[in-house]
Symmetry: C2
Subunit: 146 residues, 2 copies
DNA sequence: ATATGTTGATATTTATAATTATCAACAATG
DNA sequence: CATTGTTGATAATTATAAATATCAACATAT
């Protein structure tokens, strides 16, 4: 098996994740409610975090604590991700998509009724997985024109 | 004379601006220090605000108060503006430009040593003038690919 | 089946961003 | 030249976002 995939395995229950990150459980739930993180859910609806999830959360934390960007600020910044370009939406899907016009939160925080996003798992999507910080978003914006 | 240009005339001293906006003078100075606004300066370094300046500040205020985006959040979001595309930088100028890679504040909050931006007045630049809110930034990101 | 951990929701506390007040030095106005 | 407004800087205050605590109901594990 590909050993890199281990880091994607959701093996940590919420308490362990909180201990490893040195934050409280309600904070983890808050970030999720705000759409900054999408942990895996078990059959019985219990959260499970992977190593990559933890890294993502540390990144979010840095934005809040060091860069002083509010949660809504992070959401607004992530809303600038040109997801339609990344996943290659059809023009129709794109124009019908809420997240194409919305600038308040990232695409994965929206309920999608049409297009690929309606069926795909956001947690597994490149758009979600690749973007948790400003620099990555800007990098992508730079590359659209090329 | 073009009557529309009147709205760009910097005719309000800081006290008047503060009264019209119902905020304090130090707040206006803060927004400027953070690079969210560039008022005109008289020969003796006194600030003067135009009607458009006031509208811009109201827009900023809405982001802070209603959208709950922190000042640093607004700056991060504005750092996503593809300014090099808008003003049509040469590839060389672009690659040498700080604001091309930086994702912490908008281009006009940087000191520019090379390119057009070194000589131009940011206050007069389309990039500064057109962008004070998220939706305009996203609109522009949408249009790059087209 | 009893311990321990989870869920979502609400209430509370804490941290800190945003705003304002105050200051001496300088500018404008009449 | 006296009045009123400005400048930047620092200190104090206020507002509120972020984090945490608490809860009953449900899940897991031994």
């Amino acid at each position: 098996m590909d050993l890199n995939k281990l880091d994607d395995k959701p093996i940590f229950p919420i308490r362990t994740a909180a201990e490893l990150l040195k934050i409280s459980i309600p904070t983890l739930r808050l970030y999720e409610k705000e759409g900054l993180i999408i942990p895996h859910k078990t059959n019985s609806n219990q959260r499970a975090y992977s190593k990559h999830d933890l890294e993502r959360i540390e990144c979010i934390r840095k934005s809040i604590k060091k860069s002083k960007i509010s949660i809504n600020g992070i959401k607004a910044m992530l809303a600038m991700i040109p997801c339609w370009q990344i996943i290659g939406c059809s023009d129709l899907d794109r124009d019908n998509c809420i997240s194409y016009s919305d600038s308040s939160k990232p695409c994965w925080a929206h309920k999608h009724d049409n297009g690929v996003c309606a069926t795909n798992e956001c947690r597994e999507c490149t758009v979600y997985k690749d973007f948790s910080e400003c620099s990555k978003v800007k990098e992508t914006i730079q590359n659209i024109g090329k």
